[in-house]
Each structure stands twice: as structure tokens, then as C-alpha cells.
Amino acid sequence: MHDLFTEVWESVRRNKLRTCLTGFAVAWGIFMIIVLLGAGNGLMGAFNQSSGEFASNSMMIGGGSTSKPYKGLKEGRRIRLVTSDMDLMKKEPFSENIDQVTTSHSQSGYTLTYGKTHLNNVSLNGTYPGYADMNRIVMLAGRFINEKDIQDKRKVIVLGHLTAKNLLKGGTDYGRLLGEQVKVGPFAFKVIGVRRAEENRDDRDLNVPYSTIKTIFGLDNHIDDITFTFHGLPTEEANEAFEKELKAAVNTAHDAAPDDASATWVWNRFTQNLQMEKGSKILHTALWIIGLFTLLGGIVGVSNIMLITVKERTHEFGIRKAIGAKPWNIMKLIVAESITITAFFGYIGMVAGMLACFLMDKTLGQSSMEVFGESIRLLVNPTVGIDVAIEATLVLIIAGTLAGLAPARKAAKVRPIEALRDE
């Protein structure tokens, strides 16, 4: 190995300029691969972040309007879900797959008061215990709403941590708020927990038991939508079949045709995630392909320069063969040189690409866009991991070998009588 690299170094050293020029194309190719993949990762990261706050194995079902007449009822009739639809999901055959069933109802435009502190524009969000799992709620102090709260229609409330911080005048010992009384509009609640929240998204949604809000506002049995978590539906087909069955059951309960597609709607986060994953894979592959094609230019350059090297060194290879070099010894020299050039400049490109990703993370990665009052980050963590670095290394070694192969075969075919020819 040492001898081989000494030889390679001797050869490269004699042709510094052209080696660097050729190497630049390789470095550029790898740089592009890394930057493209980094940006792609950032983009997918941003998508995932906006959907990451929900449990991925959940579905939401809501009422639409009928598209066909059924049981003597006209088409175009509006379907509104009722609380008894939730019980439907807790029974066979759906209970086999469905875990927790919740619904929620929001009333907005209230002012939150604690002592002398007032916070405008908060909303009361009546919900069930299952909401915590479905929305991946992380409690920072106290607990979330439980079944007992629902049963007893307790006037308890869970605050977002930024709101809590405001109430504590910048303090973060959220535990101090537990058991305290706050007022939302005219209604008094006891704080039972503080959860992690995000500004401009869910911080101002204060969670209270659904039964409590129903009583306070005198809501009827109608609900907007039902969300539930499920298990045991691994494929898209299984999900589709399940959705169809569920819709048929709900439709029937509301005197709509079981196969009426628009009477109720289902939003399945699981299949949506599956599709997003598929999309992310396609994006990833597409970026690799673009990057590899960029790299191809560099590889052709290396191959070309190796051919020139072989031509220049024909006499030398003749001498080597005359004194006992086997074809393989000569091939090894050229392939090793090709791999060395590709790998060396490839690594420069890789490091530069990672630096570029780092800069991208520090600049674009920190900026966000306001969309419908929600802030969305353009790129989240636009970097590449160690896996990509390993893959890129493999690509470089393979590319270097390929680039060196044709010239090396040519070199191995040099006849030893070339040695006798005068230079």
C-alpha cells in the first residue's frame, strides 16, 4: 500500500496543475450532491415539522352533504355529526382498530386574566383526554384533562407554556400556577397543567374538558368532527378499506347511502404520511440523480486525464514490464491514481458542501414565512448525515475506479518492447 501511494504521489506531483483542474470538476459534483441533499432534507424537515405535531396514526372524520337520494331523502342534505357517532367508533367492528376517540370545540376571542395580568385573544378549546396523545402534547407541569374531569364537568384548564410564562411575568417555574384560578372571559378555571406550545400556533388554545364547555355554552349534541387514533392498519389498502367501512357505518347512522362518498369525509394522517414519505423518497432519488449527473462530468474529466497520463508514460510502463511488472501491477497504478484524485477532491467538495449546508442552516434555516397567521420555516435542519457522507464516499471510490478502468486497461496492454523504443 505504501509503495503504491508513493508511486501515485510521484505521478500526481509531476502534474499538479492539470490534476487540480480535473479535480475541481469532481469536487464540484460532490459539492452539488451534498448541497442538493441538504436542501432536500431541509425541505422535508420543514414539511415534517408542520405535520409532526399530530400522532401519525390518527384519522379525522367530519360531516359533508349527501350526493344521492336515499331512504326517500333528497340529495344535497347536510350531515352533522353528533356525540353518539363517537360511541359508534367505540363498538365492534371498529373498536378492534380504534384506540382513543375525541372531539373538540373552540370558542375564541376571550381575554385571559390572572391577578392583574390580562392576555387578549385566547380561545377555549373543549376536548377529551385522548387529545393529548393525538396532538403529541408534552406536559411541562401538572397533568392534562382526564376522564374524571369530563365526567364531573370540572372547570379546569391547561395552559400553553408561553401563555404561562406571560402570566408569570417571564418566569418559568410553571408549577407555581398549578391550582391557581384564572379567568377566561367571565368564566373562572383552575389551572391543572402547563404544556409545551408554539407561538402563533397553539399557545393561545387553552384546553378545558369538552363536557364543561358544552355546559357553559349550552351546546347541543352536534359536533364538528371526530378524531381518533388507531392501530393494525399497516398498508394503504387496509386503510382505504377501513375508511370505507367507517364511512358506510356513519352514513347509515345519518340515513345517507353507505356508499355516498361526500356525505362524510375522512382525513387520514397515516396514509398522508405514507404518501409524504413516498414523495420524500422520490425527491431524494431525484436529487441524487441530478447530483450524480453533475459528478459524471468530473468523472469523465478524470478518465480523460488518466488516458493522457497513460499515453505519456507508455515508455515507462514498457520498462516496468520488461523488468517484470505484471499487467495487474500496471493497472493498479492507474486505478489507484484515479481513485486518489477522485477521493481527494471529492472530499474537498464534500467538506465544502457540508459547510454550505451549515451556512444554509444558519441563514435560510432560521428564517420563516407567515402563512395564514402561522409561521412556517422554509428549511428545517438542511444538513446531511453521516449516512450520506458514507454513501458519497462509496460513490467516489466507485466513480474513481470506473474513471480509471479504461485507461488502466490501456496501460496494462502496453507491450514491453515499448521499452526498447527510444524516447
Binding site: 515508455h315 516496468r320 520488461a322 517484470g324 505484471k326 507491450r415 521499452a419 526498447l420
Partner: protein, 240 residues
């Protein structure tokens, strides 16, 4: 009997096929110091290529130490060249970007000898040829005679049975030529290596013990030359 050629033919194919060797019969004993003489175009270079297993032949037999050298793969041929034959070339054929000692090491490198061992051996041989102080120099820093001595060290280092010298003095002045030929004669006497010198100079041929004349692709006269009658770089024959 070390080297035997029976009815060796060689034709270079091409638009106009060239029949260069037309049935060479030759035998050279172990430890001989012979020269093959001929004008350019006589086929002597082709004969040398075949003797050195650098090229193949079409017909006949070439036998070294009872082993038929025919239809070898590139690998096998490389092995024979490496272990059995040492080459000395007219233009020295040292690798320009390697130092003297690295050039001498090279055949051992292809034998797979480890770095330290082959460096030791190469230094030993350079010392024998009086070039110890030049070990770290590149070929372009040396005189012609020094370069040829480095090449001789490189040829000797594998202990070959045969040394093939192709116009070994062709690029040297007459004083250095004499030195190199004396060195070859000394190697032949002291080490018993078979040395075959290919030349078109009668003075060079005269240093050897037997002169084989080749003309138009066949062996002509074979002179015994034990007494080296003609003075070195003869007065009676054509000289450089």
C-alpha cells in the same frame, strides 16, 4: 546447455508482411559471454526481443534450461523476465522520476520483496558498482556511464541467469564504453552469468568470447574469439 533456439521464425504482419527471422538455430551455453552482431535490419533486435521474452515468435522452439518458452500468458512472461533475465538497454531506460536506488529496487518490488530488504540489496549492488554516493540522485543528475552502471545494478539484482544487453555502449563515449564492456566481462568471469550483447559495433563484439553474426534473418558465421584478437574497438573494422 542453457539457451537453445530451433528454427525460429518471426514475421511482422501488416500490409506488407515482413519475414524478419527465417529459421534461427542457436545454442548458448551457461556462463558464456557472446555477442550477436549484425547490421540494422538484419533481425538482431527481433532476435533480442524473442530472447528477452519481450515478443513472441511464430514457429520453432525457444528453450531456456530445458523449459520451452512459447505461448506464455503476460503474467508468466513477466515472471520469467523478472527472475531469469536482466536487461541492459542502449538508452539505459531508467525511470526518470525515481532515484538511482529506487530504480535498482524496482525488479525486487515486482517480486514482492519488502521495502527494507530491497533497499539494502539495492544499496549493496550500487556499492559494488561504485555508485553508493549516487544512490539518492536522479538519472538526469548522472553521467551516461553512471546511468549505465545503475542499469547494470538493476539487471543484476535479481540474480538472473541471463543478461541481455542491447547496444549497451550505444550512448556512451569510447572510454566509458570500454569500462562498461570490461565490467560486463568481469561479471561474466566472476559470477558466471550468461551475457548476450547485441551490437553492430565490431569493437564491442570483440570484447566477447564468441561472436554470432546474423544477416537477413539467419545466423551466419560464428566466430570463436577467445583471444580477443582485434584490439578493443578495433582498428581494422568499422568503428564509431
Amino acid at each position: 546447455m542453457q539457451i537453445e533456439l530451433h528454427n525460429v521464425h518471426k514475421t511482422y504482419e501488416g500490409a506488407q508482411p515482413l519475414h524478419v527471422l527465417k529459421g534461427i538455430d542457436l545454442s548458448i551455453e551457461k556462463g558464456e559471454f557472446v555477442s550477436i552482431m549484425g547490421a540494422s535490419g538484419s533481425g538482431k533486435s527481433t532476435l533480442l526481443n524473442i530472447l528477452g521474452i519481450l515478443d513472441s515468435y511464430d514457429e520453432g522452439e525457444y528453450i531456456i534450461d530445458g523449459r520451452l518458452i512459447k505461448g506464455l500468458s503476460e503474467r508468466q512472461a513477466a515472471g520469467y523476465r523478472n527472475r531469469t533475465i536482466g536487461f541492459i538497454f542502449q538508452s539505459f531506460n531508467l525511470i526518470s522520476f525515481k532515484t538511482a536506488v529506487e530504480n535498482v529496487e524496482l525488479p525486487l518490488f515486482y517480486q514482492g520483496v519488502n521495502r527494507r530488504r530491497r533497499h539494502e540489496l539495492a544499496m549493496e549492488y550500487l556499492d559494488r558498482l561504485g555508485l553508493k554516493d549516487w544512490a539518492g540522485h536522479y538519472p538526469n543528475e548522472m553521467s551516461g556511464g553512471q546511468k549505465q552502471r545503475v542499469a547494470i545494478a538493476r539487471a543484476l539484482i535479481t540474480h538472473p541467469q541471463i543478461i541481455l544487453a542491447d547496444e549497451p555502449t550505444g550512448a556512451l563515449d569510447s572510454k566509458t564504453s570500454v569500462e562498461v564492456m570490461e565490467l560486463l566481462g568481469q561479471l561474466n568471469r566472476e559470477e558466471g552469468v550468461t551475457i548476450i550483447v547485441v551490437t553492430h559495433e565490431s569493437g564491442v563484439a570483440n570484447c566477447t568470447n564468441r561472436i554470432i553474426h546474423i544477416k537477413d534473418g539467419i545466423i551466419g558465421e560464428i566466430e570463436e574469439n577467445r583471444e580477443h584478437k582485434a584490439s578493443a574497438f578495433g582498428t581494422t573494422t568499422v568503428m564509431k
